[in-house]
Symmetry: C2
Subunit: 245 residues, 2 copies
């Protein structure tokens, strides 16, 4: 009998065209579904907790799907991992109630954006952080980040392209940390618009460069004017780092 399985997985997105299955492109969803199909002998369809773009990474991403298998749930990750490429790893498989839906059941998501701010690049962060050689004013970025917290219309912080009922989202926290030359922004919300995290990161970089003042953020949000925000930062700096149900 088919049961609803919840999978927790991590992936390095560098070589993939994002999560979602596409024609003529290698994606995480297709790779995982195909591996599950070979293992179970049935066609498997998975629902992911979000669509990550090409080059975007994820830690503890959640997906679910109806599967019939005699492999015990605790052994399923190992059975999958020996057949998956080394840049996708399934950490956990659990049988969950039929109404669990990785996307609709999600109440909070966290993303982390990494920025290397150093005179020279770091080969260990080549596909894992955006690179800004000009010195960033970290304290101003921290100040600015706090203006994003709360419920706002984030029209100025997204790229048009997907249909959404509302552009209002609530950010629970937006925390910046700095270790050596690496700046990390952790941001959690009840949902994100298309390119919202990468645009917030780009806006904070513009604050760090002195092109936007920290106290302009509230105004930019109220204006709903995309042109006043910073650029969409490189996909490689983005990593989905948490989902809550």
């Amino acid at each position: 009998m088919a049961q609803n399985y919840k999978f927790t997985l991590s992936y390095l997105g560098t070589k993939y065209h994002g999560w979602q299955r596409q024609l003529n492109a290698v994606t995480i969803q297709a790779t995982l579904e195909d591996t599950l199909s070979r293992l179970t002998g049935e066609k498997v369809h998975l629902v992911g907790c979000g669509r990550t773009d090409a080059g975007v990474h994820a830690r503890n991403y959640v997906a679910n799907g109806m599967i019939t298998t005699s492999i015990p749930e605790e052994k399923l990750p190992l059975a999958l991992n020996v057949n998956l490429p080394e840049d996708i790893v399934v950490h956990k498989a659990e049988i969950v109630p039929d109404d669990f839906h990785a996307s609709f059941s999600c109440v909070e998501k966290e993303y982390t954006f990494s920025i290397l701010n150093a005179r020279t690049r770091d080969p260990f962060l080549a596909d894992r952080a955006a690179y800004i050689p000009a010195q960033l004013d970290f304290d101003k970025m921290v100040e600015a980040s706090q203006h994003f917290v709360g419920e706002h219309d984030f029209s100025s912080m997204r790229t048009l392209g997907s249909n959404v009922k509302t552009t209002v989202r609530e950010i629970y926290y937006c925390e910046l940390s700095k270790e050596g030359d690496l700046i990390k922004m952790r941001v959690a919300a009840n949902g994100f618009l298309y390119n919202m995290v990468r645009t917030i990161a780009g806006t904070l970089v513009f604050v760090g460069l002195g092109k936007i003042k920290p106290d302009e953020i509230t105004d930019i949000l109220l204006s709903c004017d995309r042109k006043r925000a910073g650029p969409v930062m490189e996909a490689c700096g983005l990593c989905m780092t948490g989902v809550k149900y």
Copy 2:
């Protein structure tokens, strides 16, 4: 006029057959020398601070060579980096006295060996840490590590193959740390024998698995018997992390 340049660089060794130039294999030395030759228009020969093996990484590796160039030393890293692949980055170039020799002048070297000890792999550490799924007893490994510190004959901790005058080396420190599932061993010495760090790491893994007792280490060293030590751990876990002159 040719001057002696000291280069500080980092590299992700995954795609390279080690530091040293070889026929028919891509190496760090050859890649850097060829880039310097194209930039200066002369044949450049570099001396490296050590021979890292295929797949081994380095942070702040040092190399030197006689070069004639009109590019100011502070601009040389950027001129090189735009022509180097993204897994090799030159951080600094300095004109040094003619008698500076990256290998002979070196008085201390530090290596870091990383071990992922978790039920499942981590795609972010695929080429950057050895993977041990069985649970390791970290406290016993820490205890054992201290027996390596000091001046010893390390015959039991090397792979034969290179001619050395003596197999006695002095380890200044051997420090283990654990962050989440990642165990790191930092070890510094006045020099290392071939595969010595990877064998010490393998011996500590055997201690963590209960196959060797911490207080056997001194005996193993005194025995000079390679068969009593642990295995040579995977190259991908090794990173040269410091050189002192």
